[in-house]
């Protein structure tokens, strides 16, 4: 679907963004963000072969499912989380990636990239240049 050469770039960019955004306090939402970043990093890691990626992604996905359920079921999750909670609940697909991807019948990575507007067609049509 996506050219393999683009993956390292996205991997580094997303992992950096996500991990840098993670605050030190470990509430359910913060843990969810961190776990999702870890899963995406694994899925985008060019150093892993398919088996190694699968081996690391499955338990990460299971942890992500648990964390998403904790956040969704806990009525106090949003309390005190402020802007983080507002952002998180404003976009179900991005925040609850594991559940949304199963619901839509796509892989978590595909859904993630799609929600960010990064489809294969758009990437192939992109040109390198200065802005």
């Amino acid at each position: 679907m996506r050219p393999a050469a683009t993956r390292p770039i996205w991997s580094a960019a997303f992992a950096g963004l996500l991990l840098a955004a993670s605050p030190a306090a470990a509430g359910p939402l913060e843990n969810l963000e961190r776990e999702r970043a870890a899963l995406l990093t694994t899925l985008l890691d060019p150093a892993l072969d398919p088996d190694g990626r699968q081996e690391r992604a499955v338990p990460a996905l299971r942890r992500l499912v648990d964390l998403e359920r904790i956040v969704l079921r806990d009525p106090h999750t949003a309390a005190g989380a402020g802007a983080l909670a507002n952002r998180a609940f404003a976009d179900y697909d991005l925040t609850f990636l594991a559940h949304a991807s199963v619901e839509r019948g796509v892989s978590p990575l595909d859904l993630w990239l799609d929600r960010l507007g990064l489809s294969s067609d758009r990437l192939l049509a992109a040109r390198i240049g200065l802005r």
Binding site: V65, T95, V102
Partner: protein
């Protein structure tokens, strides 16, 4: 007997003035107070139990003790007034006057006592009303989504996310865990077990008589609406108390008028008994002047 009437008269008018002024008065007694707190415990109590908890708190206050004592004293005086009224009707002469005077004094004391009771009752109702308003304010503070659009949007999004999750959770379980390749996590297994226990407990709590939602006119209402209803009731009782104060003021005025009438009556009777000469016509004394000394 006359000075006693003058004093009674003065006190009776003072009672009228005091009864009228007491409408706008504050606490009746510095010691007879009730200071309930709009505590977190009270806010969290089931709505159906809230009123009983407030009543129980009131019953333990000095204000409740003062109200009980005044109520008992009023009942005693009420019985005494009935006996005195019957005795006045059968008595005669000086004894009747003495009994009438005592009857007036007793009526005046009854009115003062009733006025005090009204003050205490007003204090109880105002305190209760203030408590309901504080509880309502705390409930409003506990639900910021009512006033804050951002919080309201977040609550709305949370609700939508929760609904979407509930509709997809079975499919997610089937997809991720049904093939056995991925074992269900400890959280998932424990959550299901706890959720079943919680479901049973919640059902028992909902069915518990102490947790039954309060009703207004046969309609179940939430805690906020029930508190508003209680506040309305307290305001209604305050309005009725104002009307009772007016009745009391008219009673006091009647006592004062009775005292005036009785003072006049006794005065006239005493004047008649002494036989004071009345010089009505100056011509009757002409003889003293026309004869030379």
């Amino acid at each position: 007997m006359r000075p006693a009437f003058v004093i009674l008269l003065a006190v009776s008018w003072a009672t009228v003035a005091w009864t009228t002024a007491s409408w706008a008065a504050g606490p009746a007694d510095g010691d007879a107070t009730w200071r309930p707190a709009a505590s977190e415990r009270l806010v969290r109590l089931p709505a159906g139990y809230l009123e009983r908890a407030i009543d129980r708190d009131f019953q333990g206050s000095p204000l409740a003790t003062a109200l009980d004592e005044t109520g008992r004293a009023l009942a005693d005086r009420n019985a005494g007034l009935g006996e005195l009224q019957a005795a006045v009707e059968t008595a005669a002469g000086d004894q009747r006057d003495a009994l009438r005077q005592r009857f007036l004094e007793e009526k005046q004391a009854y009115l003062q006592l009733m006025g005090r009771r009204h003050d205490l009752e007003r204090e109880r109702l105002k305190t209760r009303l203030a408590l309901y308003e504080r509880l309502l304010a705390r409930l409003r503070r506990g639900d910021p989504a009512k006033d804050d659009p951002t919080a309201a949007r977040l609550a709305e999004n949370r609700q939508a996310a929760r609904q979407r999750f509930e509709t997809s959770v079975a499919k997610v379980d089937m997809t991720l865990f049904a093939d056995g390749a991925t074992a269900e996590s400890r959280y998932g297994a424990e959550y299901r077990r706890h959720a079943a226990a919680i479901g049973e407990l919640v059902a028992a709590i909902n069915a518990h008589p102490m947790n039954r939602a309060p009703e207004i006119d046969g309609r179940s209402v939430d805690k906020r609406e029930f508190l508003r209803h209680l506040a309305e009731q307290a305001e209604t009782e305050l309005a009725l108390l104002d009307q009772q104060d007016l009745v009391l003021a008219y009673m006091a005025k009647l006592v004062a008028l009775d005292a005036m009438a009785m003072a006049d009556e006794v005065d006239a009777r005493e004047a008649e008994a002494v036989g004071r000469p009345e010089t009505r016509d100056v011509s009757a004394a002409v003889g003293f002047f026309v004869t030379p000394n």
